[in-house]
């Protein structure tokens, strides 16, 4: 794409618009960014495309950094243990795998982690998390399939307190945000968590699949209404999709991206770095 110093002309803006749209950045966000760039070219009397690129990257990074320092992306630790993380999102985005990766990360730091098998609905969901808990070496709290997910999370928090565990990470079933009864179920899980913990979950992370298009905005909005989301985990960034919709989500909903998934193995989880992410959009 645009490397080195080229002319600033209409072809440049078309190329930039293409790149932004093809990264799944919302068309209105894209329009706004290009407008800012055109004004900057005039106001700052830019003469080379490299200046335009630098400015575009700065704009995108600012939106993603959300005026926060690096620790805005670090995961919150509860004022009193256990620290509790609730993982939510629509079907198939990578919630269970993200939990395995988080658990691996934390156990590597010698933390005592307890997983809660909160997906009591989908075929073999508990089995899937159980295999991960064995591989990573964490405890798992599970009930029978079909039981109340809120009670699993409740038991996990209780067990964590009794055993002085550092972390509870709760898995939930995939659910489309258009299913009102499932969103009600999620609200109940959240209420029970808050009540047993004495505060909201320290992180309530929405997992988004990087291949998702504009629907991610709808997902973020609806999940935000149901539970106090604290951040996003963007999975499957090891593919060709860039998940650019997170830029619109950061811009409009002020929801920070905290984690990125870059593969299917337990080590494939990184803390979100806006600068590196923006660079990857133009590679």
């Amino acid at each position: 794409l645009v490397t080195g110093r080229g002319r600033i002309d209409e072809a440049l803006f078309e190329e930039l618009e293409e790149t932004l749209i093809q990264s799944d950045i919302n068309i209105h966000t894209t329009g706004r960014l290009l407008k800012v760039l055109r004004e900057a070219v005039q106001d700052e009397r830019m003469i080379g495309s490299d200046q335009v690129m630098a400015r575009l990257k700065a704009e995108l990074t600012d939106i993603l950094a959300m005026g926060g320092s690096a620790d805005r992306y670090a995961l919150k630790v509860g004022e009193k243990s256990p620290t509790v993380y609730l993982i939510v999102g629509v079907n198939g985005v990578g919630k269970t795998t993200t939990i395995a990766k988080l658990a691996y990360n934390l156990t590597q730091q010698k933390k005592h982690v307890i997983l809660a098998a909160g997906d009591t609905f989908r075929a073999a969901a508990i089995d899937q998390l159980e295999i991960w808990s064995h591989r990573v070496g964490t405890e798992l709290i599970k009930h029978k399939e079909g039981s109340d997910p809120a009670s699993v999370v409740y038991d996990a928090i209780k067990a964590a307190k009794a055993r002085h565990a550092d972390y509870v990470i709760a898995d939930t079933a995939g659910r489309l945000h258009t299913r009102l009864n499932l969103m009600e179920e999620l609200k109940k899980i959240n209420r029970i968590t808050e009540r047993e913990l004495g505060r909201p979950a320290d992180e309530t992370l929405l997992v988004l699949d990087a291949t998702t298009g504009q629907n991610a905005i709808s997902q973020a909005k609806e999940f935000m209404k149901a539970v106090p989301l604290t951040g996003i985990s963007l999975s499957k960034l090891d593919g060709t999709a860039r998940g650019g919709i997170v830029i619109t989500i950061a811009d409009e909903l002020k929801l920070p991206i905290k984690l990125i998934g870059v593969g299917e193995k337990q080590g494939d989880l990184l803390l979100f770095d806006p600068v590196r992410y923006v660079e990857s959009l133009f590679e």
Partner: protein, 301 residues
């Protein structure tokens, strides 16, 4: 909706007398916007807009009584045609078994679809078998077995200790199906990235072994399973899967969400392969045939 937005465009142009080419070009910008918002891939949108432009600035629109209705009709008709015009069913073998191979990205809904297809065929009085070729994902085999119990369809598996590759599992499954009298064999495979050379080669090998070692007509169907919420990336992976395998059909899953589903148009446009089914729920009866006209109005919002 698109007609509302077009009404908005023509409202501010009204009172100047006849509709001009420039007015229509303005209206077409709304169409482009609607398609991009619906997740249709950029290059598919460009090709689409080029196709409808001539019709849209034709005399029917410029001299017609209702340019908005005319344009919406042109767009809708073109979309329906592009999406395949009418419903296309599955290719079934002249003599059993029919072999259906499912493939796609991680989490797209393949295993769930496998169960749904099995239930669908069983309801038709057939004798299907599901095959667990995903040896990677934790509890993938168990997941298919649970579905098998739910829909009362046998699931062919090999123990993990056997360390047999997915193509080998497919071969042995079909031998077992023939011996057992199953007339439909549905192969569930692991989700994979289109850019994962090794895993794409594995699928290529599965297809090659089926056709060369068993029967040149195998597999009768290679279905790409696509999540309805996929965005611009659809053109990339659809093209890769099609180039590698020669797809025979596409299934759009999670259509019960509120995603506009433009990825369906992208996939169809870039591969020319028909969309055969839609997944509309997590349950085993959540499978519907694909209707181009319904998706067209959904894409247009």
């Amino acid at each position: 909706s698109l007609s509302d937005r077009l009404q908005g465009v023509f409202k501010k142009l009204r009172g100047k007398g006849r509709v001009t080419e420039a007015d229509v070009t303005e209206a077409l910008r709304e169409v482009r916007l609607a398609l991009l918002e619906a997740d249709v891939s950029l290059k598919v949108v460009k090709d689409f807009m080029a196709k409808i432009k001539d019709k849209a600035i034709g005399t029917d629109v410029l001299e017609g009584l209702s340019p908005v209705q005319q344009i919406v009709k042109i767009v809708n008709d073109e979309l329906v045609e592009l999406l395949g015009g009418e419903n296309v069913g599955l290719n079934l073998a002249a003599s059993p078994p029919t072999v259906i191979m499912l493939c796609g990205l991680q989490g797209s809904g393949k295993t769930t679809l496998c169960g749904k297809l099995a239930a669908y065929f069983k309801k038709q009085g057939r004798n299907p078998m599901m095959v667990a070729c995903d040896i990677y994902r934790p509890a993938a085999v168990k997941q298919l077995q649970v579905l098998g119990t739910q829909v009362k369809v046998p699931v062919f598996t090999l123990p993990a200790e056997s360390e047999k590759s997915p193509p080998t599992i497919a071969l042995e499954a079909i031998q077992a199906a023939k011996a057992n009298g199953n007339d439909i064999v549905i192969l569930d495979t692991a989700g994979r990235l289109a850019i994962d050379e090794e895993l794409m080669d594995e699928l290529g090998q599965m297809k090659a072994w089926l056709s060369r070692r068993l029967d040149p007509s195998f597999p009768h169907e290679i279905l790409l399973v696509v999540d309805a919420m996929v965005g611009q990336d659809a053109v990339n992976f659809a093209e890769q899967f099609n180039n590698r395998l020669g797809l025979t059909g596409v299934v759009m899953t999670k259509m019960d969400g509120d995603s506009r589903g433009g990825a369906a148009l992208s996939v169809r446009a870039v591969t020319g392969v028909p969309i055969k089914f839609m997944g509309v729920s997590e349950k085993m009866d959540g499978l519907e045939p694909f209707y181009p006209d319904r998706l067209a109005s959904r894409i247009l919002g």
